[in-house]
Amino acid sequence: MSKGYPIGGKTFMALKNLTISFNEGEFAGIVGPSGSGKTTLLNIIGSLDKPTQGEAIVLDQNISDLTHKKAAYLRNINIGFIFQVFNLLPVYTVYENVEFALLLQQYSGKERKKAVMEALDWVGLTSHANKKPDKLSGGESQRVAIARAMVKRPKILLADEPTANLDSENAHEILSTMKKLNKELKTTFLFSTHDEKVMGYLDRTIHLRDGNIEKDIIKKS
């Protein structure tokens, strides 16, 4: 597929006719310098964006064909997002931020509570449940974001440079948490990163440069 952005009468190609597939349960990363098209690729997989040419098939659904509503439903049920800047909801407590993802689905109050506490336990933040995001460190904030993304047990988790705003200790902690969840829940993890620390954890590294795939390396386990 390709993705072009119109810029001043011309089209800037952020993704150039690339072909790639991901396997269920993978722990894969898209690496490449800034501007290479990593975020664009993740956003298309996450149905926030659409390719301008070609097809993106996610969980048997063609992203180009999805209506706003269908795309929202896909994200709601099957896709979790983690962002570089955390994007926690400031007026909510940690607990409520995590619960939020479930409120969009049909969970009973009891089920919600159980799921939220479990998700906070995954990231080791049960004791911070009633804190507001502005009382958290960067590492804690990103762990809340992981809990929020994982609480609904999505099939795919998309993490766009999740460690870019973290020190190396927090970065390692987050990556090992995600690796553990990948093993336990069989969730497919897709990262975008240019952080060396992240690459060590990846089972598969896809190198992107100027919208093209340069290398696709699968680590032998």
Binding site: T39, N43, G46, L48, D49, H68, K69, A72, Y73, L74, R75, N76, I77, I79, F81, F83, V85, N87, L89, P90, V91, Y92, E96, F100, A101, L103, L104, R148
Partner: protein, 384 residues
């Protein structure tokens, strides 16, 4: 719904000062609109009640040639009292001039059956009077002619043949009514006395009906029901009400602009939050719904605040009433010194509905931008 509700509450109480200002201005509109409208309703009610009690009774049977608003019809607008009628108080209208302290003043004499119980006019004061020509007048007439109880004044009129005649009448009572139509320029005397001094025996210009009257069509006379007679009063109050709408409109506009402004700012500042909602799988409609709900919550809070301080305030207001400035009392329509506002259910709930509806619309309009927002840019924190 739970989502929208908790989120809105948290956001609204997060911005305390702005919320307080919005809510206060809006609650102020609630109270002022209900207060002013209550005065109007109270006035309407009082004017209707006074007009019924003093002027219209249960309706009037009027000679077909008589038009109470046209003094040129007085001469011909009368006829012999029909036989076999009941529940009607006859009134004969006649023109005259009085000469208080040497000035000449046009006046309308109204002869009325003294035993009447249709209206509150104190006609009993005219029964068995020691004076030859006792009359009663209202406080406005007393003021404009400078007459007091016990005063004598020269009166001149034409009899049935058009010949001038004159005599001295004595004011035996001055009544206090809010109805100018039976007061200003009016002199009330016994209908029998008026028959006698004019020679218009057994004639009447109109009748006031009481509760016993059952209308049957009758030649030369037409019946105006109470409602028909009251219509001009209600129309005038409605018209006054209409001109007051400017105040409501301005107040509401200010309050709604504040909400609108808050919403525009909110949608602009919270773009990354909106992007997050969309990324988490919320539909745009739902995001719009949440923001709209949040805006309309201001009016709900305003309602609560308005109840807290407006309820006792308006209750007190309804109790002590609204003192009408003297200048306003000179209008041609019944208006009391003090109007007691009436806060009916229709008024209160109508206003609440109006404000809730308007603030919801105003809350919604700025949120339409959300449907055009690019979630990717929003997530990056780029303002659109």
């Amino acid at each position: 719904m739970k989502l929208a509700f908790t989120l809105s509450i948290k956001n609204i109480f997060g911005a305390k000062l702005r919320t307080f200002l919005n809510v206060f201005v809006l609650s102020f509109s609630f109270v002022v609109i209900i207060g002013l409208k209550g005065v109007m309703d109270g006035w309407d009610d009082q004017a209707r009640r006074d007009s019924i009690n003093w002027q219209f009774g249960q309706g009037q049977l009027i000679h077909e040639d008589y038009d109470p608003l046209d003094s040129f019809t007085i001469l011909d607008g009368k006829g012999l009292i029909p036989e076999n009628i009941s529940g009607l108080t006859p009134i004969l209208v006649h023109q005259a001039s009085i000469y208080p302290q040497g000035r000449m003043l046009g006046a309308t004499i109204k002869g009325i059956d003294l035993s009447q119980k249709s209206v509150l006019l104190p006609t009993k004061a005219l029964i068995n009077s020691k004076y030859n020509y006792p009359v009663i007048i209202g406080k406005r007439m007393a003021e404009s002619s400078k007459l007091s109880i016990g005063d004598e004044v020269l009166i001149r009129w034409r009899d049935k043949n058009g010949t001038y005649d004159a005599n001295r009448i004595t004011v035996v009572d001055i009544f206090d009514s809010n109805v100018p139509a039976i007061d200003s320029g009016q002199i009330w005397m016994s209908i029998e006395t008026l028959w006698q001094i004019t020679g218009l025996n057994n004639q009447a210009s109109f009748f006031i009906a009481d509760k016993n009257y059952k209308h049957k069509p009758i030649n030369f006379w037409k019946f105006n029901s109470q409602e028909e007679l009251l219509k001009p009063i209600s129309d005038l109050v409605a018209q006054k009400n209409g001109s007051q709408s400017v105040i409501y409109f301005l107040l509401l506009t200010i309050a709604l602009l504040a909400i609108f402004d808050t919403q525009v700012l909110s949608v602009f500042r919270r773009q990354s939050e909106i992007g997050t909602y969309i990324a988490l799988g919320m539909t745009r409609q739902k995001v719009i719904g949440i923001f709209t709900f949040e805006g309309s919550l201001y009016s709900v809070l305003a309602l609560i605040l308005a109840t807290i301080y407006g309820f006792p305030l308006l209750a007190w207001f309804a109790d002590v009433g609204f003192a009408v400035p003297p200048a306003d009392q000179k209008m041609g329509i019944p208006i009391a010194d003090t109007i007691f506002p009436i806060f009916g259910l229709k008024l209160v709930f109508g206003t609440i509905f109006l404000v809730l509806f308007a603030s919801t619309v105003v809350s919604f309009l700025p949120t339409r931008k959300i449907s055009k927002l690019d979630p990717i840019l929003a997530l990056k924190g780029k303002k659109q």
